[in-house]
Amino acid sequence: MRAIPMIVPALAALSGTALAHHSFSMFDMKKDVTAVGVVSDFRWTNPHAWMHVDITDAKGTKATWALEMTSPNTLVRSGWRRSSFKPGDKVTVTYHPLVNGKPGGALVKVVLPSGTVLENR
């Protein structure tokens, strides 16, 4: 991670909450991207839960996005369950993208078809 444009907000965010696993400097924490996609994988694991979402962009190009959450320990206290969704589910995800441009990011929230909002915090 050599080119990190938003180091100051990242530092400010970190000073409030100590880190358990790693910093957020690899993500553009000032940028929220919202997209609709189909869940292809969901891992209810430590140190992070992960979801893979197949997202088709405006040009019709499909890519699988890897989105990292916090731990199941924290998510379960925000209303998540290991059964919150499953591969094939259509979801709306909001995330902070990787600064290196690869299809990955830190999840902000997921909106399920039912309207249920699962926040990553």
């Binding site: 080119a3 409030g16 696993h21 994988d41 891992r43 430590n46 890897a66 690869k102």
Partner: protein
């Protein structure tokens, strides 16, 4: 043999047949192991004494925003140099600053004392006769604080959480910890200590709020600090939760590469 075993019985005749003559001065190092039984493990036990201790049950969630900003540490030598370097990097807004302060072998490597107290996960305390045990939910880390009168070791190994003894002063648990690793972090942004650091914690419930736990730290370090350095941590009680399992090696997709950078693996192992 202090510790007889089936192996000993089976192997001894063979050893007599094939082994070279043994010098009279030779002695198995295991013969020098200490055999002291401290009160925390002694056959005689008084569970009733626990009744006099304060109620610290439940989980304790860290409250970093309640903590006052600590004074600037008066660091010495290489510890000051590292601190100054990181402060300069932060002031320059160099992205390397963040990497510098978190450079570790693995993101799953625990922080050690006192970092175990400041991870963004809850802690809990267990009281047994002669001992207080603290469990940090993140990575399921354990601190053992012996309150049975044993002394600190003269020559401790340097470990992540060190060796801790404690005693009760009223409802305050006073803990002394030594045997921590050189270069361990005692505060944010490059505040590190030597392996000669002694940490004293005074842990108590806030008299005005029995659901608020206060930990007052005093760091003394003849190598890294010109004067004692202090910090305070706060925790709020949560009675409705239990700790959950946390195995950091289960799916660690953030390895740290040879440059010290945290990676992001986009595929599940």
């Amino acid at each position: 043999m202090r510790r007889a075993s089936a192996w000993t019985g089976a192997a001894l005749p063979l050893a007599c047949l094939f082994a070279a003559p043994v010098s009279a001065q030779e002695q198995n190092a295991a013969a020098d192991l200490p055999e002291t039984v401290w009160p925390a493990s002694a056959p005689a036990v008084d569970f009733g004494a626990l009744q006099a201790l304060p109620d610290w049950r439940g989980l304790w969630a860290p409250q970093p925003r309640l903590a006052p900003r600590p004074e600037s540490p008066r660091l010495l030598g290489k510890y000051k140099a590292l601190y100054d370097e990181i402060q300069t990097l932060i002031a320059s807004r160099d992205p390397e600053a963040l990497l510098k302060v978190e450079r570790r072998a693995s993101a799953c490597e625990p922080p050690g004392m006192p970092g175990i107290m400041t991870q963004p996960y809850n802690i809990e305390f267990l009281f047994t006769p002669g001992r207080v045990t603290m469990i940090q939910e993140a990575y399921m880390q354990v601190r053992r604080i012996f309150t049975d009168g044993r002394p600190l070791p003269d020559d401790p190994d340097q470990t992540y959480n060190g060796f801790s003894i404690g005693h009760w002063e009223g409802d305050t648990l006073v803990v002394t910890t030594t045997g921590l690793r050189d270069g361990g972090v005692m505060g944010r942004w490059g505040i590190t200590h030597s392996d000669k650091m002694t940490l004293t914690e005074r842990i108590r419930l806030d008299p005005a709020d029995k659901d608020l736990l206060v930990v007052e730290n005093s760091f003394e370090d003849p190598i890294a600090l010109a004067a004692p350095w202090h910090s305070t941590y706060y925790f709020k009680r949560q009675r409705h939760l239990d700790q959950l399992e946390f195995i950091c090696a289960q799916n660690d997709r953030n390895p740290i590469n040879e440059n010290g950078d945290v990676e992001f693996l986009d595929a599940a192992p």
